[in-house]
């Protein structure tokens, strides 16, 4: 073998050359000058938040006053005054009269507010709708021209007379004559016509209903959201309701496995805390005492109405209540 080994020399030289070339050609990394991606603002909404949107939409040209979304026109306008009879607007038709209504003055209040237009009986309707008072003024001329000055109260009063005596007092002097007239046809109570007086309307949906349909919210409110309850407030609401039901619930004593008799009750409320429609038991159980417990729970709900001390501002939150009644808590507390 020849003593000269050129391999190492050649190799070192070649590596030196290559590394030098690498240092030069790779030099400094060339910054990648790609244009920055435009950022897309994305907002995540829960379904709840989406439903409560009252914020304005960019495309909206309508600059009317803010409204909440409404999917369906409410058939009958709510009377601004929360009177018992009005409460029946949301009632689902049921032939069994709820026990509570038994004590309420059935025949009188019903016809007047709701079926006012349809009914032949009352000449009252004309003066009735307060806003239309001016327009309709000519007709009730025989009566004192004053109803305008007397304002709304006198007119609707006749049917509801039993409840608001003060209003009548206010409007007293003139409308008295007016009162008498509408009263006469209504006073006569025809027991045979009860069925005609019953509310036969289809059950109202639990959708949002309002004066007019507005699928898109316009302009919006300052907060952009309808009032919402915090978890604490919601719990306070639930406990307020269940505290009012609790004393009225008589659980079948000695029921086996009473602690398993959870009853979930669902009911709708009006703004004044009265029941709207019949409470329903939502759940079921194989426990033989369940139906007894469920019935007693329903009775308890009827007995506890009207519910007190519910915040009016968050009516939307307790309009439709579903509450779990737990016998073990009831027994313990």
């Amino acid at each position: 073998m020849p003593p000269v080994r050129p391999g190492m020399v050649v190799s070192v030289a070649a590596h030196t050359v290559v590394l030098t070339w690498g240092l030069i050609s790779f030099g400094n990394a060339v910054p990648n000058n790609a244009p920055p991606m435009p950022a897309l603002p994305v907002e995540l909404l829960t379904t709840e938040e989406f439903n409560q949107i009252t914020k304005g939409e960019l495309k909206s040209k309508d600059v009317s006053k803010p409204k909440q979304k409404v999917e369906k026109v409410e058939p009958v306008k709510r009377d601004p005054k929360p009177d018992a009879p009005v409460a029946k607007q949301d009632v689902k038709p049921n032939n069994t009269e709820p026990p509570k209504q038994a004590d309420a003055p059935k025949p009188e209040p019903k016809p007047a507010p709701e079926t006012a237009k349809a009914e032949p009986a009352p000449p009252a309707p004309k003066p009735e709708p307060p806003k239309q008072a001016e327009a309709k003024a000519p007709e009730p001329t025989p009566q004192p021209e004053k109803p305008k000055t007397a304002e709304k109260p006198p007119v609707p009063t006749p049917p509801k007379r039993p409840e608001p005596p003060k209003k009548v007092a206010k409007a007293e002097p003139k409308p008295k004559a007016a009162e008498e007239k509408p009263k006469k046809p209504e006073r006569e109570f025809n027991p045979d016509a009860i069925s005609a007086l019953l509310d036969k309307r289809a059950p109202s949906r639990t959708e949002r209903s309002g004066d007019e349909i507005s699928q898109t919210a316009s302009l919006g409110t300052a907060t952009g959201e309808a009032s919402r309850l915090s978890v604490n407030e919601l719990q306070a609401l639930v406990s307020a309701i269940s505290n009012q039901i609790r004393p009225n619930w008589n659980i079948p004593i000695g029921a086996q496995g009473a602690s398993d008799l959870l009853v979930v009750v669902r009911f709708q409320l009006n703004q004044d805390g009265t029941l709207s429609g019949n409470p329903q038991v939502v759940n079921n159980s194989a426990n033989p005492f369940f139906s007894a417990a469920a019935d007693s729970a329903l009775r308890a709900v009827y007995l506890s109405a009207p519910f007190q001390d519910l915040p009016a501002a968050s009516y939307e939150q307790w309009r439709d209540v579903q509450i779990t009644l737990n016998p073990s808590q009831m027994l313990g507390g």
Partner: protein
């Protein structure tokens, strides 16, 4: 790379040195060690490759020349005399070894002719083995670098990525500016490993087949020469 250093380079990303030399300097010392080792391995491999290429070319030339002379009808005695005094390789070495054994047997008065054939075969075998060994030396280095190089580079890469993740954890910042230098330097180690391993593997395969070819050629020559000698022995006996 130390976490602090990474954080520093992340902050001063604009002036970070991203050249090959800069990458090397920023690297953790273990990664540096791996890189240096791989560069040395690469240098060594290429030295072997150059040497072997030249060796095989020379050997082939010598074989061609020797065969030409051998089959030219020249007297074997003369050929032996001309070759005996200088160092020989491959076929010449085989020829000289066999001839030496032959001559030694006849110098003693031709008494040890009976097993001369076997002795010559043995000598031929041994010489061929020695020659093949000379051709094959240091090929194992190529094989080793070829198979281990990528792993060594990968080790450097894993180490570099490990430390760059450590620096992410330390600086609590996942921006690419923190990660990129560590990754780049780590990948540099893999690149060096591949750079060393790829030529090593290619040339190892090439050289292995070359050795086999030349070995077969030697064997063939040895068989022929052995046949010639045994004929001579039988004629004299």
């Amino acid at each position: 790379m130390e976490p602090a250093a990474v954080a520093q380079t992340a902050i001063g990303a604009a002036n970070a040195d991203m050249s090959l030399w800069g990458l090397f300097l920023q690297a953790h010392f273990i990664v540096k060690f791996v890189m240096i080792g791989l560069v040395i391995a690469s240098v060594w491999c290429w030295a072997i490759i150059v040497d072997k290429t030249m060796l095989y070319a020379r050997t082939r030339r010598q074989m061609d020349r020797f065969e030409k002379v051998f089959w030219s009808g020249q007297s074997l005695e003369e050929l032996y005399r001309s070759l005996a005094n200088r160092p020989n390789t491959s076929m010449a070495a085989v020829f000289v070894a066999a001839m030496r054994e032959w001559k030694r047997s006849f110098e003693g008065g031709g008494r040890a002719i009976g097993t001369l054939n076997q002795r010559i075969d043995k000598v031929l075998d041994v010489t061929i083995q020695r020659e093949l060994e000379r051709l094959e030396t240091r090929l194992l280095v190529l094989a080793t670098v070829g198979s281990a190089g990528p792993f060594i580079g990968l080790f450097g890469t894993v180490w570099g990525i490990m430390s760059s993740f450590q620096s992410i954890a330390a600086s609590k910042n996942t921006s690419l500016a923190v990660v990129a230098p560590g990754i780049a330097e780590a990948l540099f180690a893999t690149a060096l490993g591949l750079l060393a391993a790829i030529p090593a593997v290619i040339f190892y395969n090439k050289f292995a087949s070359e050795v086999a070819k030349q070995g077969a050629r030697l064997e063939g020559f040895a068989d022929e020469f052995s046949a010639i000698l045994s004929r001579q022995i039988d004629e004299r006996a």
